[in-house]
Amino acid sequence: MLTTVLAPRPTSPVRETHRSIAGRYVSIAVVTALTYVAVTQLRGDQGLVAILIAVWAIALTGLNVVQGLGGYPSLAQAAFFGIGAYASSILLASGVPFWLAAVGGVLASVAAGTFVAVVFSRTRGQYFAIGTLFFGAVCTLVFTNESVFTGGPNGMPVGLGMPIPVVLAAIAGSLGVGLVVFDLIGRSRFGRRLRAISADEDLAEHVGVPTARTKAIAVIVSATFGGWAGVLLAQYNGVIAPSQFTFVQGFLMFVAIGIGGYGRLFTPLVGGIVVVGLSQLLKLQPGVSQIALGLVFIVITLLVPGGLIGGAERIARSLFSRKATS
């Protein structure tokens, strides 16, 4: 009754052929190159928006792990973003050499992520959202009030740790590396467990998935990405302020993942382009642009609840009349 199987079989929920994996890596390389061109060649407002989108995409890649794969809505990503930015800038201001300050920024974010992970990894869905939201709000309070370190509500200037061209290359490069890492995570056992948690957490637990531990690791991974993105933002911008990392930003990041599509590889880019692009480029009367943004979120969520990437795929499939994969 027992037979052994000789042919190797894939181990992940995404059926892979070697060609599709290679294809994906080629797309990542293309996207990285395009990002580099965009951040170095675009000028003025467009250039600033491109850079902001790219940096957000790095942070969003981390969020895509805990929220996109695991289904856990984390509203703390902007806080990790801010912690990375502030910690690295403060260290830099105290005379620490840049690379050390950068690592310090990421470590500070990881420490915060560990705290959030330990406290909230046993809480379920909506509670988790509220808990991380509140964490984000408290971080904003700290950024605003500890003015001795952080410069208070008006922010603080950031010392130049790397020449701007290096920062821009680092931004594009980090996005590429981040996407590769995300792809590897998605195809690993860890990624499979996250998807199981997202599909049915209780069932996953009864099948042997250590749910709390898996969620905790996902949060810490997201904090790592967020922290590094923050370091890069601070370096490019030359100045950081609490308003860039409030819970509203956290909420916007959360929405970006939903708009792109949970767990898809390029969700951070699609989501980032919609959320950041629209909010920066809609230059209507103050307030009216936000109303338009809100309307866009609602319309997109109602029309393509699975996210834009999934929606586009469905359209492409029906246009080319290929048989739908089951």
């Binding site: 037979t3 199987v5 599909a199």
Partner: protein, 230 residues
């Protein structure tokens, strides 16, 4: 020989109600135990405690002599206690292979489990597209894939016709014979259970009413009155 599973004075109280009251039980390796009783007798609660879904209010659970009483479900699975569910719970959007891969660490274990349960040719199919009986077999295969020492089957034959039930019968017998795994089966389908189980435990109002070989238990007047008396 150490018992595969031993329950000592296991109790679960919800407020003032004792759903399971001081249950003690020993199961040898490679033994199929049938668990029956009228609704509300505590069978599912007992199963839930063994699997880790619920924490006992009193008593101990020993797996191969080791205390596993209050461990969370995923640790129990790692130690060797696996379960299926009364209502079909599966990852509908996944393929059979992906679902099994979640439970078993090695690729081969997942495939072996599927073959053993008789769904080896369904590996690439989406679980949601399978028939009800096939989905219930996926649950059994999932439990098998984690290399358990004890499997808990909660009404596995629900919704199955005669042919499918016979197949399940062979599968469970095979699990015992080929792997030496002990099985606890909660069932209402008496024909299925009486010919399958090595011994039967009857529960009523949270306590064990009777234990013994199927033919003995089925003729026990106390058991008959428990079912008829309600």
């Amino acid at each position: 020989m150490t018992a595969a599973l031993e329950l000592r004075g296991l109790t679960k109280a919800f407020g003032g109600v004792r759903a399971v009251d001081d249950v003690s039980l020993t199961i040898e390796p490679g033994h199929i135990l049938g668990l029956i009783g009228p609704n509300g007798s505590g069978k599912t609660t007992l199963l839930n405690m063994i699997a880790g879904t619920l924490t006992p209010t009193g008593g101990t659970i020993l797996l191969g002599g080791v205390d596993v009483t209050s461990l969370p479900p995923h640790v129990k699975v790692a130690r060797g206690i696996a379960r299926t569910f009364q209502t079909t719970r599966v990852m509908s959007a996944w393929t059979v292979q992906e679902s099994l891969a979640l439970a078993g660490d090695a690729r081969a274990a997942a495939i072996d489990a599927a073959e053993h349960v008789g769904i080896g040719d369904l590996l690439r199919r989406r679980v949601g597209s399978l028939s009800s009986a096939q989905q219930r077999l996926v649950m059994v295969a999932t439990a098998l894939a984690s290399h358990p020492k004890v499997i808990l089957l909660d009404e596995p034959a629900v919704g199955m016709d005669v042919e499918e039930t016979d197949h399940l019968h062979r599968v469970v017998r095979g699990i015992r014979d080929e792997h030496g795994i002990s099985v606890i089966v909660v069932e209402h389908n008496m024909r299925f259970l009486m010919s399958l189980a090595d011994s039967i435990v009857v529960m009523a109002t949270g306590r064990i009413l009777s234990t013994g070989r199927p033919d003995v238990v089925r003729n026990d007047p106390a058991v008959i009155s428990a079912y008829l008396g309600g």
